[in-house]
Symmetry: C2
Subunit: 445 residues, 2 copies
C-alpha cells in the first residue's frame, strides 16, 4: 500500500470516528453527569474504608441544582465543641461562599457547626445575588439545626457566572437533616463530585494520651473543566480534642508540602477550600503542640492531606502519568519551589511525559526559565535511579533506551539537584494529554 | 445500532488509526525536515519583499548539520563601522553561543562584523565541547573574513544535549563566503528554520535628515518542539548611522512591548537571541535620541519588531487563533503585565479559545490567580467590542450566541479592564490545540 493510500484511509477513518463520537454523545443524555465519565487510569482500586468520627454526621440528597439523577447536595453536622480550621484559595476573584467561610473560620465557639456543599453550580462571579444565595443556604441550615449562622460553612462547585438556584437547596434542608448518619461519608464524597472520575478519601489513626485519635478526610477536584471550574474541596474530620488556634496552626503548616505542592495545569480555582473539624469526642487527652501525641497527630494529619492531594493529581484531567518532581541542592526553599513548579507546570515537560519521551533537555529548559539561581554545569537530573545528566551535559553512562523504558511506567520520579545549597522541595503533577484538550476545548455549551 | 456497538467500532477504528499513523510515519523519512510541515493557518500569504540594506550580505549552504536536502547554515557579513546591539534569553541555562554573544555585544569597534547561524543542533547543554564548538565556528569565520573574533557572533538552534558537529560548518565557510550577496535575505531566513512552518520577515523605511533609512529583519521561532528547543532567533538590519550605546538603548526599550509581550506556551528557550546591526551606509545624518528622525527611527524599529513577534505567535505550535490580550485599569504596569500573561498562558483559557468557547469564567479565574491586585466587582471583560462581564457578573446585555459567533474568527481581542488605575499592557498569544500535543508528545526520538 502506498503512502497516499494510507493517508486517505486514515482521513476517512478520522471523519468516521468524529461522526461516531458525535452520535455516541447524542445517544448519551447522561454524559453531563459525573457517573458517565471514564475512571482515571491512575485511580486507586476502590474508595477506602474510613472510620466513623465521633460527633460527625453526613447526609446527601438529589436537589437537581444542575445534575439529574444523582445526589448533588451534602450536609455535615458537627457536635458542639468542635474546633474549625480552614485554608482557602488565594485567588483575588474568590467566590462568595469562600469569602463567607473566611469571615467565619477564626471565631472560637462552643456551639456545634455544619458544612453544606453543592455541586453543579459554583456561585462564583455572580455579584450580589451570589452573596444572597450564601446567606439563604447557610441561614436555612442554621435555623434547621439550631446553630448560630456563624457556625455554618458552605461551598459550591460547578458552572460559574450562573445564579445559584438556591431554593432547590433550601427546599431539601429538611430531608438533609432527616438523613444525617455517622457512616455516610462516602455518599458525601460522591455528592460533591463534578468532573472527578472517582471519589477521594483517606484516613489515619494516632495513639493519643488515653486513647486513639481518628482522622478521616474526603476531597474532590481534578484540575478545571468546561464549563465548570473544578474547585478543589477538602473536608477533614478528627475526634481529637484540640484548640482552634493550634488546629489552624497545624493545618496551615501542613498545607505547604501537601495541597500547595500539587498542580494539574497551573490554573487556580476561585473556590478552593479545605475545612478541618476537630470534634473532641476521642477519649484521648487534649493535644498540645509540644507533646509527642501532638506531633504525631500533626504528622498523621499531614499524611492524610498528602494522600488526598495525590488522589486529586491522579484524577487530573486526562492524566495518564503521576509524576513526582524532587528538587534538591537549591540556594533556598523558595528557589527549590520555583524550580519544582516550573518543571511541573511546563507544557513541554508535561507533553514529553505524555509521549513517554525521556526529554531531559526540557527539564534543563524549565530550570533555566524558573528564575531561580542555577548553574548549568552543576545541575544533575535523574529519572528514577537513572542518572541522565550532570556537569552541564548528558551523563556518559546514560543510555537513551534506559530512559525510554523508565518513562513507560505510570508513576514517575524526576529528580533535579542544583548542586548549590540545601534548599529542597517535592511537588506532584500529571502529564498533558490529548484528553486534556478534549475535556477543555472540544466543548460548546 | 446500539450504543455499545458504536463504541466497539470506534475503538477498533482508533486502534487501526494509531497503527496507520505509525506506518505513515515510518514511510516518511523526510518528516524530520522542516519542509515536510504543514503551513500554519495563520501564516501571511507570502514572504514580504525586503529592501537590500547597504553593507549587509547574506549566504546560506547545505552543511548537513542534522537536516538533509536543505540549507541549514547561513552567514551574514556586515560592513566596517557597523554598530551591533543585542538582547538575549534570561534563562539561567543559556547555550554557549548566547554567552559568547553576550560577552561580545557591548564592545564598540570600527571593524566589520559577521553573524553565523546553524539549524538542526542548538549546541545547548553540551558542556565544555559546546564552548569549543563556538570558538571553532566563530574563529573560522573571523579568519576567512579577516575580522577580529570579537566581531563574529553565532547562534545555533535545534536538538539539545548533542555535541555540535562543527567541522561540518567550518568546512562550508569558504562556500559561505563565496556566496555572499546583498539580496539573499529570504534564503537566510529559510536556512535557520527548524519547526517553523514559514519564514518570517518585516521591514520599514524612515525619513532621516538627508535621506531615507531602511530597516529589514528576519526571525525564526514557533514555540518549542521535540526534539528541538524552538529557539527564537531574530536579526534586524538597518543602514542608519547610530552609535552602539544609542542603538542598544532603543532596542532594549522596544523589546518590552514586542518580543517580551508574546507567549506561545510559557516555556523559555535556552538560546533566544536578537541581534540588531546598523551599518551606517544611509545618506541620512547620524541619529540622536532627541531628534525627530531618531524618534521616528525608534518607532519604526518597534514596528518591525512587533511585526516579527506577531509572526512568531502566528507560527505557534498548533496555533489556529491569534489572540491579543489587552489589559487596562491595573494599579500599575507590572500588575497589568502579570494579568495579561496569566490570561495568555492559562491552559484553560487557551483550550477554550481552541474550542471557540466564549468562556469568560476562565478569564476571571486567570485574573484571580495572577497575583495582581483585582476587585471582582470592578472587573469588566470584552470579546472584541462585545461587553461580556462587568460589576462582578455577566453583563445583562450579553448574549452567549454573540460571544460564540465572535470566537469563530481567527484573530481575537480579549480586553480586560480592572477598574483600579491606569496600568495597561497588551500581549499576544495563540490557542492550545490537539496539534500542540501531537507535535510535542506524539514523538519518540
Amino acid at each position: 500500500m502506498g503512502k497516499t493510500d494510507w493517508k486517505d484511509e486514515a482521513k476517512a477513518l478520522k471523519k468516521k470516528l468524529s461522526k461516531l463520537k458525535a452520535r455516541t454523545k447524542a445517544e448519551k443524555p447522561e454524559a453531563r453527569t459525573a457517573g458517565a465519565k471514564l475512571v482515571s487510569p491512575l485511580a486507586p482500586a476502590s474508595f477506602p474504608t474510613l472510620p466513623a468520627i465521633g460527633g460527625v454526621e453526613f447526609s446527601a440528597v438529589e436537589a437537581g441544582v444542575r445534575y439529574q439523577n444523582r445526589k448533588d447536595v451534602m450536609l455535615i453536622r458537627l457536635a458542639p465543641g468542635t474546633s474549625m480550621a480552614g485554608v482557602f484559595t488565594r485567588s483575588s476573584t474568590r467566590a462568595a461562599c469562600v469569602l463567607d467561610c473566611q469571615a467565619k473560620i477564626g471565631k472560637v465557639s462552643e456551639a456545634g457547626a455544619a458544612i453544606i456543599v453543592n455541586s453543579g453550580n459554583s456561585n462564583a462571579f455572580t455579584g450580589a445575588v451570589g452573596v444572597e444565595a450564601v446567606e439563604a443556604v447557610t441561614g436555612g441550615v442554621a435555623e434547621a439545626l439550631g446553630l448560630p449562622v456563624e457556625r455554618v460553612f458552605s461551598s459550591s462547585t460547578g458552572v460559574i457566572g450562573e445564579p445559584l438556584p438556591y431554593e432547590r437547596i433550601t427546599a431539601q434542608i429538611p430531608a438533609l437533616v432527616e438523613g444525617l448518619s455517622g457512616d455516610a461519608i462516602e455518599m458525601a464524597a460522591r455528592a460533591m463530585m463534578t468532573t472527578d472520575t472517582f471519589p477521594k478519601g483517606a484516613c489515619a489513626v494516632v495513639e493519643g494520651e488515653g486513647g486513639p485519635i481518628q482522622i478521616a478526610g474526603i476531597a474532590k477536584g481534578s484540575g478545571m473543566i468546561a464549563p465548570d471550574m473544578a474547585t478543589m474541596l477538602v473536608y477533614i474530620f478528627t475526634d481529637a480534642k484540640i484548640s482552634q488556634p493550634l488546629l489552624q496552626k497545624m493545618l496551615s503548616r501542613q498545607v505547604e508540602a501537601t495541597f500547595n505542592a500539587i498542580t494539574v495545569d497551573s490554573d487556580t480555582s476561585t473556590s478552593d477550600a479545605l475545612l478541618l473539624a476537630a470534634t473532641g469526642t476521642s477519649p484521648a487527652a487534649e493535644l498540645n503542640g509540644r507533646s509527642k501525641a501532638g506531633r504525631d497527630f500533626e504528622a498523621a494529619l499531614g499524611r492524610v492531606m498528602l494522600d488526598l492531594a495525590h488522589q486529586v493529581v491522579r484524577d487530573g484531567e486526562g492524566a495518564t502519568k503521576f509524576v513526582e518532581i524532587r528538587v534538591t541542592g537549591a540556594e533556598g526553599p523558595e528557589d527549590a519551589h520555583r524550580v519544582a513548579m516550573a518543571i511541573a507546570n511546563s507544557p513541554l515537560v508535561k507533553t514529553a511525559i505524555a509521549g513517554e519521551d525521556p526529554n531531559w533537555g526540557r527539564i534543563v529548559m524549565a530550570v533555566g526559565k524558573s528564575g531561580a539561581v542555577a548553574d548549568r554545569d552543576r545541575l544533575s537530573i535523574r529519572f528514577g535511579d537513572i542518572l541522565v545528566a550532570e556537569k552541564g551535559w548528558r551523563s556518559p553512562d546514560y543510555r537513551e533506551e534506559d530512559g525510554a523504558a523508565y518513562m513507560k511506567q505510570s508513576d514517575l520520579v524526576i529528580a533535579v539537584d542544583l548542586g548549590l545549597g540545601t534548599g529542597s522541595r517535592t511537588v506532584w503533577t500529571c502529564d498533558l494529554t490529548h484528553r486534556y484538550i478534549d475535556i477543555n476545548a472540544d466543548y460548546r455549551s
